[in-house]
């Protein structure tokens, strides 16, 4: 849990009080999921993850060109260079469907995450 308290007084005194900074690796053991980009398509295009749980999503770009995983609903935007892998932290999400797409190939690279 991370707590940062900012106290600000009228005469201009700024004091940062850090109450507790611990548990930075709290998400290290969260469920992991894989998503691949190949020929400008997401595989799988539908990914089911547990609701109300923070998960790690590994996105592997098997194409030689970069792609951007983007979703306004998930509030995530991440460029994955060609031939590389990127980690995206998602959630915890309420049950529902969350579309995503590849910004560089939006007509083909589309998918959705279902949280349930």
């Amino acid at each position: 849990m991370t707590k940062l308290r900012i106290l600000f007084s009228k005469n201009g005194l700024v004091v940062f009080t850090l109450a507790l900074l611990s548990g930075a690796n709290a998400y290290a053991d969260k469920p992991e999921f894989e998503l691949a980009i190949e020929q400008h398509l997401f595989e799988p295009s539908v990914l089911v993850i547990p609701a109300n749980t923070k998960v790690k999503l590994w996105v592997s770009n098997k194409d030689s060109t970069p792609e951007e995983f983007e979703s306004y609903e998930l509030n995530r935007e991440k460029v994955v260079l060609g031939g590389q892998r990127a980690l995206i932290f998602i959630g915890p999400l309420a049950p529902g469907e969350y579309p995503f797409f590849g910004e560089f190939n939006p007509k083909t690279a589309q998918g959705k995450i279902i949280a349930k």
Binding site: M1, T2, L4, I6, F8, K10, N11, G12, L13, V14, V15, F16, T17, L18, L21, A24, A26, Y27, K54, P66, E68, Y72, N75, R76, E77, K78, V79, L81, A86, L87, I88, F89, I90, G91, E103, F104
Partner: protein
């Protein structure tokens, strides 16, 4: 990104706490940074802040900036600006600014997202050199996003000598839809306290390009502060 965030934050907090006076010259109302950097991203940016009528502030003081920036990798971005500022008008080049943005944690990795901004500013007209370090903290609360920028500024000026300044800006933004995200902003610096509404939005253009804007008016909260300050930012992002 393996960064000892605890030490960084604690060090920054102690450092800024030692500077007892909140103090910042010029216009406190400006862009509030998010902590994110995206690989390959480039941007052209235009910002203007215009402060109107305040007993303790400059009347009709305008600051304009035009910049070009690019990401170096997935955590560092560099940007260079030219600026124009003055009372009544700001039509001639008055300085330049170099900026480094550093994403310290992955989005959603921790309870809050961390970043830092370092700036060097040279004002040709007023012969001021300024170095600034800014801690950027962002927390998501569902559709609500809160962001804090806490700045420690070193300024060297022919007229006032050397001094340290601090400033704080806060934003609460509701992610209603991509083109329209209403926000409330608060700014504090020496002789300035202000709060006001801002509209934020972005529109997607062809070829993965986008145009982002922020526009709002921040109202002074005490008699030392400018009555109101208009601010606008236009940012064209491309790859």
């Amino acid at each position: 990104m393996e960064i000892n965030i605890h030490r960084l934050v604690i060090g920054f907090a102690i450092y800024i706490s030692l500077v007892s006076l909140v103090k910042a010259d010029g216009l406190a109302v400006d862009r509030i940074y998010a902590p994110y950097v995206n690989s390959l991203e480039k941007e052209l940016e235009y910002r203007i802040s215009s402060a109107e009528v305040g007993s303790g502030a400059s009347n009709d003081y305008i600051v304009q900036r035009f910049g070009f920036g690019a990401a170096v990798n997935d955590s560092i971005a560099l940007e260079a600006y030219v600026s124009a500022e003055g009372e009544g008008d700001a039509n001639r080049l008055s300085g330049y600014e170099l900026e480094l943005r550093w994403q310290l944690s992955e989005q959603g990795e921790y309870a809050v997202d961390w970043g830092a901004v370092f700036e060097y500013e040279h004002s040709r007209d007023s012969k001021i050199e300024e170095l600034a370090g800014k801690l950027v903290v962002l927390k998501e609360w569902g559709a609500m996003v809160t962001t804090a920028n806490a700045s420690l500024i070193y300024e060297s000026s022919e007229s006032t000598g050397e001094e340290f300044e601090t400033a704080l800006s806060l934003q609460a933004r509701y992610r209603y839809r991509p083109m329209l995200e209403p926000a409330l902003e608060f700014y504090a610096a020496e002789d300035y306290r202000g709060m006001g509404p801002v509209l934020v939005g972005a529109i997607r253009l062809a070829a993965a390009n986008s145009l982002r804007w922020e526009v709002g008016t921040v109202f002074g909260l005490d008699e030392d502060s400018a009555d109101y300050t208009f601010r606008l930012m236009l940012e064209y992002e491309f790859y």
